[in-house]
Amino acid sequence: MDNVVELDAVTRTYGSRRRPVVALGGISLAVPAGTFVAVMGATGSGKSTLLQCAAGLDRPTSGRVRLVGRDVTRLREGALTRLRRDRVGFVFQSYNLLSELTVRQNVLLPRRLGGPRPRPLDEVLAEVGLSGLAGRSVGELSGGQRQRVAIARALAGRPAVVFADEPTGALDPTTGEQVLRLLRGGVDRSGVTVVMVTHDPLAAAWSDRLILLRGGEVVADVPTPDPASIAQRLRATTGDPVVAR
């Protein structure tokens, strides 16, 4: 099967040349189409940077990133933007919706930016449980509803891959579960690839494959186990003293 995301010896450093801060220290991995990958690690382990580099939101310092078969490290900004618009969906922890616009306007935003024709709006909204709210301003919605708008926006354009950065971070467990169910459904029903960064073992348990980061390096890349094992593995990699004992 084709790989939707491929990273080859990707590094990313911040800060000055004299005192560089290494966020990613040479990561190689491949994500085949139709898989749900969870990326975990302690704060500062580089998981958000990994997501941003893989999604073409940021450029690596060295190494190569292939996204849907295109080498994004060699694409110019305009072409990269179009690639993101046409083939990639995003879900962020802080929703990142335009709060003064309506649900419909937010979901159709990529299309208005020139993106591909989306699936019928009613169908997409029904899928995320927001039927009848198309005309509402996003500012009036609850957190869970906002995140579902963001998922509708990400899935409406039939993307090849959805990148989700702590999508349940700001939600209660029940609402968070709805969101994860939607992402899982996208993978199972439409063959979308999902790359999700999370620190919640219960959220990660919805994935097919678990990648653990520590200090900008991959320390584990395994089929996703049950939540308790995920929590244990996470504690082990983050060097939690409870586990060390």
């Binding site: 335009l98 208005r112 020139g114």
Partner: protein
């Protein structure tokens, strides 16, 4: 899409566009008024003797100078206010960039916003300018400074010129502000906009220093040159230094920040805020410094001349001298207040957070007042320097003195007006922003 981003911006922050709208309306009025007054004089049907009286009054020259001054002044201030409005959308711009808006598309959306504000503002401003010019000419004939035959005739060039300058400056200002968020990687923009950049740019500081030095050099040249041309050149001295002050704003505000420590904990909070917001507040510094320096130069030149010569100037002459300046000072002051209001309303969220972690409404307000005072002190210090550099060589050339003179009463009055302006631009919007419970303010913006 341009429409979507424009609509979002206009709805989310109506105030941040109301400010530029008012400023641009006044800018168009200023340009068209100056043009109208100038063309009314040159086009007036006068008999030869009246024409000679008019020419000898040197008022037509003054009107030409007004045209020049208003064009530069409005272009600068319109561009500046628009820049600060667009800069506030950095986060939304980063978001649409992540979702697939190319840099070019973002620039188009931003240009649309600039035009949407500027075109109606100019159309509204031009008739206002006609009223201004009419009133000015009526005042001049009333004081018998110019012959009664000079009446106001609208200039055909006023509308296109005023619109062109206002729309042009608005576009340039907006595009400059969008340059960075449109071009940077969306990842950087999404994280960076959450925290304003604290670092002070070396280039920015260098440009500021060069402009300041240029102002001083120009002033020295004027002192040695033809006094008749001093008026126009001294305006450019002032302009260069005021823009320089804007570039140096972050440095200046941060130098002044330790002063607030005198006010204890509240002051320390204010100082921290200023360090973060120094850049945004610098936008208000330019018009504020321009307004104070303009007024100071005009008033102190007058009072010093009366003081040295020991005779009062004729009322008609005083009226003529002050009338033009009043308009510019008012324009710059309005722009300054607008910018302050824009900056403050952008902080609704931050004010709400301050209150949530335990500050009472009074305490939050005290922090705002403290910051306002610091901005005032900085503006006063900078404008005094600018005014002195502009004025001293002129005073020396005209009156042979190096010591300016200003009666205590007028000094106190001026200070009160400046402090009042800054407080209006900060405390009133802060009160409006804090009217609702803190939790509500937070819910709306997330």
């Amino acid at each position: 899409m341009s429409a979507g981003l424009t609509r979002q911006a206009l709805r989310k922050q109506p105030w941040s566009f109301a400010g530029p709208f008012v400023t641009q309306c006044l800018a168009a009025a200023l340009v068209s008024g100056a043009l109208g007054a100038s063309s009314s004089m040159s086009g007036a049907r006068l008999d030869p003797s009246a024409r000679q009286v008019l020419t000898e009054s040197s008022i037509p020259e003054m009107a030409t100078l007004f045209v020049v001054v208003s064009v530069y002044l409005t272009a600068l201030i319109v561009g500046l206010t628009m820049t600060s409005s667009i800069a506030r959308q950095a986060r939304d711009i980063a978001l649409v960039r992540a979702l697939g808006a190319t840099p070019g598309r973002v620039r188009r959306a931003v240009a649309t916003q600039a035009a949407v504000v500027a075109v109606p503002a100019s159309v509204l401003g031009v008739p206002l300018g006609a009223l201004l010019a009419h009133a000015w000419l009526a005042g001049l004939t009333g004081h018998q400074v110019i012959p009664p035959g000079v009446t106001f005739h609208p200039s055909a060039a006023a509308l296109p010129a005023a619109t062109g300058i206002t729309v042009g400056a608005s576009l340039v200002g907006a595009l400059i502000a969008a340059l960075r968020p449109a071009r940077v990687r969306p990842a950087a923009a999404l994280t960076e906009t959450a925290v304003p950049r604290r670092r002070i740019g070396l280039v920015r500081t260098a440009i500021g220093l060069v402009l300041m030095a240029g102002g001083v050099a120009l002033s020295i040249r004027i002192a040695g040159g033809d006094p008749a041309k001093a008026g126009e050149s001294s305006f450019f001295t002032m302009l260069a230094m005021c823009v320089g002050a804007g570039f140096l704003g972050p440095v200046l505000l941060r130098l002044a920040a330790p002063l607030t420590r005198l006010f204890g904990g509240t002051g320390a909070l204010a100082a921290d805020n200023l360090a973060v917001r120094a850049k945004a507040l610098s936008g208000a510094l330019v018009p504020l410094v321009l307004a104070i320096a303009f007024a100071m130069v005009k008033v102190v030149t007058h009072t010093t001349s009366v003081h040295v010569r020991g005779v009062a100037e004729p009322a008609a002459r005083v009226w003529t001298e002050y009338s033009g300046t009043v308009v510019y000072v008012a324009f710059a002051a309005v722009a300054a207040v607008n910018t302050l209001v824009t900056v403050l309303l952008a902080r609704r969220r931050e004010l709400a957070v301050t209150r949530l972690v335990g500050a009472s409404r009074m305490r939050a307000l005290a922090v705002v007042v403290c910051e306002a005072l610091l901005v005032t002190v900085t503006a006063l210090a900078v404008s005094t320097v600018v005014a002195m550099v502009t004025m001293l060589p002129m005073l020396h050339g005209m009156l042979g003195t190096w010591t300016p003179y200003l009666p205590t009463g007028q000094l106190a009055g001026g200070l009160a007006v400046v402090i009042g302006l800054v407080l209006v631009g900060t405390v009133v919007p802060a009160l409006v922003a804090m009217r609702r419970p803190a939790v509500e303010s937070l819910a709306v913006d997330s």
